[in-house]
Symmetry: C2
Subunit: 111 residues, 2 copies
């Protein structure tokens, strides 16, 4: 993707029949802006990032988010922050697709 | 705000009659997650951040975003990335309010 440009996240979503689809919108050493795309029933297992914060923003659909021992139903426009080391996960419990903007700082792949 | 919790960004928006309103949703050394709230006609003048990337996500309304010499009309769910050093600004050219999620990495106030 060439910058600067207006990004319509839904156009960059990658869904997969096998498992959650991932795509990258932007990355630098400081930041990874990506999409997690879930078909109904798909999940991202509980995991944590050391030394990184993650922001989730629900762009479409709804699902259950796990964070620090809590379960929360999230829907379009809801936001969640998983700070450094706090376990988090996602399950698409809805009937339709779930699209989530996932922003990680710093970028885990470019340390 | 206590974490973990589902964040509904609109509930944290601060509008001001004088100028763009700012509020903070989450911050660490790595990340600042905030809101920029514009009444109709209000603007955030062109500026740049050295050593930081910014992600804008339009939550409500529409406006003109400046980035690296380009002018782009952005509306709800559109996203823009202003990488390190690239000048950017915003003007609410719509009739209603404009609410923008602004994520900076790293946090300019906690270096």
């Amino acid at each position: 993707m060439t910058h600067p440009t207006v990004i319509r996240p839904a156009e960059h979503a990658v869904y997969s029949a096998d498992k959650m689809g991932k795509s990258t919108i932007f990355e630098s050493t400081r930041l990874l802006v990506g999409l997690n795309a879930f078909e109904s029933g798909q999940a991202h297992a509980l995991h944590a990032h050391a030394g990184m914060d993650k922001v989730y923003s629900v762009l479409d659909g709804e699902g259950v988010f796990l964070l620090g021992g809590r379960r929360m139903l999230m829907k379009e426009s809801d936001l969640l922050v998983a700070p450094d080391g706090v376990p988090h996960g996602v399950r698409n419990t809805g009937h339709g697709r779930l699209l989530v903007l996932a922003i990680l700082a710093p970028n885990p792949g470019r340390k």
